[in-house]
Structures are given as structure tokens and as C-alpha cells.
Symmetry: C5
Subunit: 257 residues, 5 copies
């Protein structure tokens, strides 16, 4: 679990509150329930109009992913593929059957199983690539839901402010004009905070997580194909470690040996 | 039929009204017929200028699709293809002739008919892919019409507000300045609501429906090609189920058997 | 000729005027010659800076295309190709020489002539595809000119308003502040109307016309290649009709025959 | 040299001045040296931060290209290639050695020289295509510098206005509020004019010049490859003229001959 | 090290200060610590939410790259490849073992080592291309962090201004309204300067550095592949120098020799 998202949210909220207190303002001055309703209710309504209900209901599950993701460990993936390739080279492809249980990564499990089952390399790669594209597609839909919230929140913030301005202007009373405008501006403020401190950063996070996962899948695909083709484990290692930044690559001495 | 769009529209409208009532404002204060005319009439005019009349006349039919769509059922598509592939394997490709009637999906019907008619796999795939691209093209044009409304409505909202401001300023009367500006802002409000609560979410919905339908067509194409190539139904099932999220895939036991 | 563009322009202009009259304002209040000069003159200057003079001089010719375009008739194109393919099958490719005169479409004429002249299929397809790309390129340049006007008009609208504001503010007189601001806002209004009711919709229109024309050319290319390859007219018909929406396709009975 | 850019700049500047004079304002009211410093100095600083110094120093050279470009003459390019192909066909590829001197276009010169030197067609095409991509890359960098100015100028215009507003507001004096705001708005005005009447149109111009040059290079590449392959000059002519609009193509009579 | 970034930052800061002094304002009027906290603290919080903590912690290291980069020297890269190719041609591929030490560029070192180790050209090119894509991916992530700061700073600038306006309006006191608004606008000003004078130009810089490095890697890849294929050093030189602008290419006389 990457604690950045939690730390960032706490830090950001603390900062917003500190800035109010430093400004000598009471927190309650910034809370207006109808405004909250317009911004978040309006955004929720637009998300429901724009997407299947089954997807919208997953909203909080997807938000949770940004908090509780276990980072993809590419080094372990590579190490496992290299280890599997050594077994396959020494004892034959079928011997991987015995190592199925230790494989956690579902794509790797699927790929190795298909290889052991004797499917052709072409079909195995084709299925794994289709899987990668399907995963990318589903992640894109999930990210779109969160970034959609990041687009509709400021839109309803503006709508709320316009409603407030029309009310205030239609009934112009010099004594309350200030308070009226202050309340009217609150929805714009809510929308801007919701977008820039919650939903857009979360969508960025999902995007980064997706990139990592797809790179991991790409490594698995190349690894499984290489194992099935009986490639040299040393060459497989070098090929796959190319995805890592140089500082994280294994020692090169063996390669020169 | 996915009820999200209807529920979302009702929810959103209810919220907007509630916020007016909570604000102590009468609904009628927010209704101004000339403003409605400028925003929706202006957007309609721009859509007519920008697109063939025959397309613009389909506007409400396209809007209806966002309400009354029957969701694409990929699992049934796959099941049917697998079932057809089993028949084809057991009794030959020509035997599919007898199962034509039970096929509802028009692409699948077309593909199987062409296969039964003895067209080469290349031509069958080529025709089905051309169909997919043509469908994608038409859907893109439809979506463009709705998202066009989502672009022109706020534009005419701004134009209406400018017209109102010019009128008000040219004839500056402190007593009515508030009402004048309130009315001027109404067009911007209408434009923002029309875009963010109606047309842009609907365009998003059409986009998602299109993605689902194209994925279904892609599955049909791969299925028909695989049937024509006489592939193993078990392999076809595995290939096509890769498009589904893991939780919705059929049991894997048989595969290992 | 698609009348949508004309009808839309008339409708939009009528609406704008109605909204002024309903607002109790005189039309003349909205006409300011220096403002017109700044918006349209400025946009014209920027188009001249940004594009070759020979292109800018075609501005009104390109605008005219959005009014007086004859819609591409894909069904007729397909019917003619199928008819030509029947002749070619029955009487040989060279017999198409006699039908040259009845072909209006310049690409089809060029393609058939090259086929009759005995050029290889590869060269014929290569030349027709180069033509398609060249046409797409020229259309893109034309559309860019009109959408450029749609970008520069609001920009000079804002510039005009800034100029007006600076003048008004530098010489702040409570008696005329209203009229001053009203006039200053007129350029923004002109720019917004010019962009959203004239140039951007026209650019969209050109884009749609281009898409139709390119699809027609794609059909011609596939048709000519198929004729040259001596394909079955029935298969050619099916291939090309795939570009049409299902409702417009010819009867399928013959195919099953 | 295309005079459009010069004419457009003069026209635009004249219009701006006319609008001031028509508005009864003195030109000097619109000149404020600190404002000029903020907008253009700020944009220059940001360009220096964002790009290598050696590139920023070429700024005015690149601006000059938009004034003094000699338009690409595709017809002459085609005519020369066709003429070279006729020589090559009649007297052999090596005979082109004698015609090297009359070739001005550097890519054509390079391509023909490599062909005469006996390099393989693959290598010649590879080198010429690499050249095309390298030219496109350098042009993109140049265009990015100018459009960067078009982005940073309005940004510093807004920054200048904010600075002016803060100064004015911190020291609110009803007597000078108008002049203060007028001066504050000047930077926004400068930024808007610099972007929309100078840098963005110039960047568009560079873009168009680049497109023309790349098309010319594409024609040279196809021509050189065709000459090396010993293709029929008549076919080469037809292939290359496809890049021209139909109205500018050479007579077709010879082709039918 | 390219001094442009440092010079630009100094120049820009000097300009901003000069404009304050010329405006007769004290610097301290433009410093407000809570505002600084909201803009930069808020942006930092959003970056932490949106990206892995390990990446955010590299922020200043990445900023440093924009100051202290040593420019890629493509000419030296080409010269070294040509020199290596001459050795390989004269003394065989294995002789490059002795020249390993003089190679600084890590990709070139890796490529030549793999070639000397006897890996097939396909694998060598595949590994080097994977490396190039991995480098491009990492650079993209780094650039995204800096341009993310350039997006979140103005967003929190606007949020800060909204907070300030709500405070000021809720407690409307004609005597302090000016100061209140001045302070409220400061966050927008900070955000605009941070984005347009610091982070967005730096992101542009990183983008340009990345382009240069990728071009250098592309040259290394083509060079290593060419060396392994035993190509003529003269041809290799010509191929690779095509990436340079004509003015920087080596003499062409030898080529004609």
C-alpha cells in the first residue's frame, strides 16, 4: 500500500483548514449544506446519466483502489519468470506443472498453464495480449468514472454559483449582498477542491497504477513466450530487466561470464 | 434497458429544484422564455448549419437510445459462438445452416451465412471488419451530434448573457440593475445545465454503448473466423472469454480436464 | 444541395433578432461599425498572416461549399461499380473502355482508365490512395481556414472589449459608464456569434462532407481493385454495401440464391 | 515570397490603431512601458527556461522565415523528376551524373547522387526518409518556439494584470481607480494581441510551410525510388501528379496515347 | 550544462520585481505566507495523492535535471559509432572487446557487448528498443510530475482566491474591501507565476531533453545494428548523419570519392 494518497489527502485538508483559521474565519462559514448537495448530488446525477448504473455503483470501490493498492513488483515478476525458465530448460516445459501453485500472478498462471497444456505459442500470446487489452479497457472505464467526477464537480460548482447569483440579484438588498455572494461562491469552491484535490489526482493515480500493471503484464507475456520458445534463461533475464531502470537491474557479471 | 440515465435525470432535476426551494426562491424566477429560446434555439440553429438536415432530424431518436438501450450481453454472444463451433465441429460447417434462425445478432448471422455460403475466410473477415468500422463511424456521427449540442448550448448561453448585459448597460437604471443581470445570467445557467446534466453525459453514454457494441462485434468476428477455421471449441471459448472480466468467466475446470 | 446550412443560418439570425425585440431593445443598439471592423478585420488580418494569400482569397468559395454541396450518393457509386464489374466479367476488362463516358466520378474514371490501360493493380491502388490522401490534405487545409476564422473572431472580440474597457476606464464618467461598457461588450458578442453560429458550424459541416467524400473514394478504390482482380460482382456488391447502414442495403435474397 | 504575412500584419496594426482613433482615444494612452516589459520580457524568460539557449537565439531567424519564404514549387519538382527519369531510361542511371548540377533541391541531389553511386534502393529510401523525419522534427521544434511565445505572452499578460490589480486594490483611491484598472488591463491586451495577431498566426504559417515542404520531400523520395527502379516516366508523372490538385495537373492526353 | 534555464529564471524574477518597483509598490505587499502555503502546499498535496510517494520525493532531483543537464552530443555519438564500425570491419566484430572501455554511452556499451557476446542482431535490436521505450516511459513519468505541478499550482491559486473572496464578502467592510481583494488575488498570481515561469517551462525543457536523448539512442541502435551487420562505415556515417541538420554534417567529399 502506497501511503502517498492518504498522506496527501490529510495534508491537503489540513492546509485548507489552516488557511481558514489563519484568515480569522470560522470553519462553519465555509459549510453550506444546499451547496454541498448541488455540487456532489449534481455530479452524481450526471455520472448516472452518463454511465451504466452497475459501473457507478462501483465508485467507492474504485476510489478505494487509490488508497489500498499493492504496488506491482516487477523485479519479483522477472525473477520468477527467470526461475521458471531455468526449470523449463533443465526439466522440460511439462515440469512447470509442479510449480503452478507458487505462481500468484493470474496472467503468468494462465500463460504457463496454456503452455503446459500444449497450446501453440501463437495462441498463448494472442490470448495473453487480448487479456492485456481487456484489462487496459476496463481500467480505462474505471479511470473515466473518477475523472468524470473531476469534470462534473466544477461544472455543478459553477451551476450552483449561477443559481446563487440569480437569487441574490433578483432580490438585491445592499445589506445582504456580501453574504449572498459568499454563499454563491461556495459551490465553485467545493467544485474546485473536489476536482483538484480529490478526483483528478485520484484519476492520475489510477492511470499510473494501470501503466505499472500493463508493464508487468507485458513482461509476463514476453516471459511466457520466451519460456515456451525455450530461450536461454540468461537472455530472458537480460531482455526483461531492460524494463527496469538501470539502478535496479541485477548484477551483470554473470552475463559476461 | 439501463435505468441509470432516467434515474440520473430525475435525481438531477429534483436536486436543482430543491436547491431553489431551499434558497427560498420561486421556481418561476428561474423561467424566462426568451432565454430558453436563445439557448436551445441557437444551439439547434448551429447544429443545423453544421450537419446534414437528415441527421439533425434524428436528434430525438438518438437521445432515446440513451434511455432505451438493451445492454450488450457478451456472455450470451460467447456462449452462442461456442455452441455453434461445437455443431460445426461435429456435423460440419454446412450444418450451421439449420441453426441460422436462432441467431439474433445481425453480424453473427451475416458471418455464419457467408461461411456457410463458402466464402473464403479472408473475405468474411474483411466484410465483418468493414461492417465494424462502418458501425463505429455512424455511432461517432451520432455521438458528435449530441456532444455538439453540449458545446453549442453553453456557447449560446454566453451569447444570451452578453445580449442581456448590453441591453441592461445601455439603459442603466439602478432600480432594475439586479433583475436585469439576473435575467442575463439565466441563459448561461441554462447552457451550463443543458451541457453538463443532459447532453455531455448523454454523449458519454453513447460512447460507452458504442464501446460495448464494438467489443461484441470484435468477439463475433474472432468467433466466426475461428469457427470457419475449424478451431477447437474449448480454445475458442478460452480466447473469447478473455474479453470478460475474470469474475464473469465460465468455470475453468473443464479446460484443465 | 443540403438546405440545413441555409435554414440554420436564417433560423439562428431570426432568433437573435427576436430575442432583442422581445427584450425591448432596438436593433441599432447592437450595431457598432468600429466593433465590426475590429472583430472581422482583425480575424481577416490574422488569417492572412497565418496562411498563403492564395488560400485566404478562396475563403468565400469554401464558405459557399457549405451551402451548395451536392451530397455524395454512395448507393449510386456502389451500383455503378457493380454494373461495371458485371460488364468486366462478361466481356473482359477492356470492354469498360466503352463505358468510360457514363462515369462522372473522377476517381472512378481515373481508376477504370488505368485498369483498361493495363497498369498493374498495385500501381492503380497506389495512385488512387495517394489521390485520397491528397484530397484529405486539401480538405483539411480548407477546413482549417474556416475553423481558423472561428478561433480568431472571438479572440479579436476579446481584444476589442479590452480596448473598449481601457478607453472607458481611463476616462471614467459615471454618466456614460453603462454605454461605454455596452459598446465594449459588443465585440465579444460579435466574436461569439461569428464563431458559434457561423464559422465553427461551417467547419463541422466541411468535416462531415469530407468524411462522406473520403468514404465514397474508399468505396471506389476497393471497387476498382476488385474489378481489376476479376472478383464476383455479387461479392463486390456485398463488400461495398457493408459501408451502408443496414436499412439502405439492397435486397439480400439474391445472395442466398 | 508570400506577401500575406506582411500585408496581414500591416492591415491588423492599422485596424487596431483605427479603432483607437475612432474611439476618440490617444495612442499614447495604450502605451505603457512597464507593461510591455512584463509581457514580452516574461515570455522571453519562460522561453529561455523551457528551451536550449541556442534555439531561443534563433527566434528572430525563425520569425523571418514566415516573411521571406519562397513557396515550394511542387510542379517544378515533378517536372524535374520526370525529366531525370527520361534521361535515366534512355541513357542509363549513371548518365544522371551529368545532370547533377542543375538540381537545386538538396534531397533530390542527395538521392540521385546515392543512386548514381550504386547504393541499393532500400538504403537510398531509408536515408531520404530519415532525412524527412529529421526535417519534420527540426521544423516542429522551430514551430514550438513561436507557438510557445503565443502561449506565454497571454499568460504574462494575465500575470501583469493581476499585479496591477493587487497594487490598485491595496491602495484603493476612488479618484484613480479607473486609470489604475486601465493600466492593469493593458498587459492582458498586449498578451492577447501578441498571441492572436503575431505568434499564433506565425506558428500556423510555419506549420503550413512545413506541410508543403514535407509533401515536396515525399514526392522527391517517391520519384528517386521510381527512377532507381527504372519505372516508366509516364507512370512516374501520373503517380507524382496525384499530389497536385486536379486543376494543376499536366495534360492527360499523352497518357491515353 | 545549458545556462538558459538559470538565466531565464533570473531574468524573469528580475522583471517581476522591476515591474513592482516601477509601479511604486513595496515587495512586501506581494508576500503573504498563508497564500504561499495554500498554493504550494495544496499543489504538493495533490501531487502526493496522484503519484507514488517514491516519485514525488524525486521532485527536486528532476527539477535539478533542467538546470544541470549535459547536452546530448549527437556528433560525437556518430563519430564513435563510425570509428567502431571501422575497427569491426578491419579486425572483426570481436576486436571491439578491446574498445569497450572508451565507450561512455551506456546503450552503446550494452549494444556492442551483446554483439561481441554473439547475440543475434534481432535480440540485440529488440533489447535496445525495449530500453529506448523504457527510458521514454520513465522520462514521461518525470515530466508528468513537473507539468502536474504546473497544473495544480494555478488550480490552488484559484481555490485560494475563492477562499479569500468568501471571507471578504461574508464580512463586507468598505474600509478593507480593497486590501481583502488584493490578498485574495495573490494566490491566483502565485499560481500563474509558478505555472508559467517555473513548472510549465521546466516540463517543456524536460520534453526537449527527452527528445534529444531518444534521438541519440535511436542513432546508437541503428549504428549497433549496422556494425553487427558488417555494413560499410562510409554508408553508416551517411545514414547516421542524416539525423543532423545539414550544416553540422561532415564533409561530403569523401563520399563522392
Amino acid at each position: 500500500m502506497d501511503i502517498g494518497t492518504v498522506v496527501g489527502l490529510i495534508l491537503g485538508s489540513a492546509l485548507m483548514m489552516m488557511s481558514l483559521i489563519l484568515g480569522g474565519s470560522s470553519l462553519m462559514q465555509f459549510v453550506d449544506y444546499p451547496s454541498i448537495l448541488v455540487v456532489f448530488g449534481g455530479a452524481a446525477a450526471s455520472l448516472m446519466i452518463s454511465r451504466p448504473l452497475s459501473l457507478v455503483l462501483k465508485f467507492f470501490n474504485i476510489v478505494k483502489i487509490t488508497f489500498f493498492n499493492k504496488p506491482v513488483d516487477i523485479k519479483t515478476t522477472i525473477a520468477q519468470i527467470v526461475s521458471l525458465s531455468e526449470t523449463a530448460r533443465r526439466e522440460g516445459l511439462l515440469s512447470l506443472e509442479n510449480r503452478m501453485e507458487e505462481i500468484d500472478n493470474p496472467q503468468m498462471k494462465l500463460g504457463i498453464r496454456m503452455a503446459v497444456d500444449g497450446m501453440s505459442t501463437d495462441i498463448v500470446e494472442n490470448i495473453l495480449r487480448t487479456e492485456l487489452e481487456a484489462v487496459a479497457g476496463r481500467h480505462g472505464v474505471h479511470k473515466g468514472l473518477i475523472s468524470g467526477a473531476g469534470v462534473y464537480c466544477p461544472a455543478f460548482g459553477m451551476i450552483g454559483t449561477l443559481i446563487g447569483l440569480v437569487m441574490m440579484l433578483a432580490d438585491l438588498d445592499p445589506a445582504t449582498i456580501g453574504t449572498g455572494m459568499a454563499v454563491a461562491l461556495l459551490t465553485t469552491l467545493y467544485g474546485a477542491i473536489a476536482a483538484n484535490m480529490i478526483f483528478l489526482p485520484m484519476a492520475d493515480k489510477l492511470s499510473g497504477l494501470n501503466d505499472d500493471e500493463l508493464m508487468n503484464m507485458e513482461i509476463v507475456i514476453r516471459g511466457v513466450v520466451a519460456i515456451q520458445a525455450g530461450e536461454n534463461p540468461r537472455v530472458i533475464k537480460q531482455k526483461l530487466e531492460t524494463f527496469l531502470p538501470p539502478s535496479e537491474r541485477g548484477g551483470d557479471e554473470e552475463e559476461a561470464a
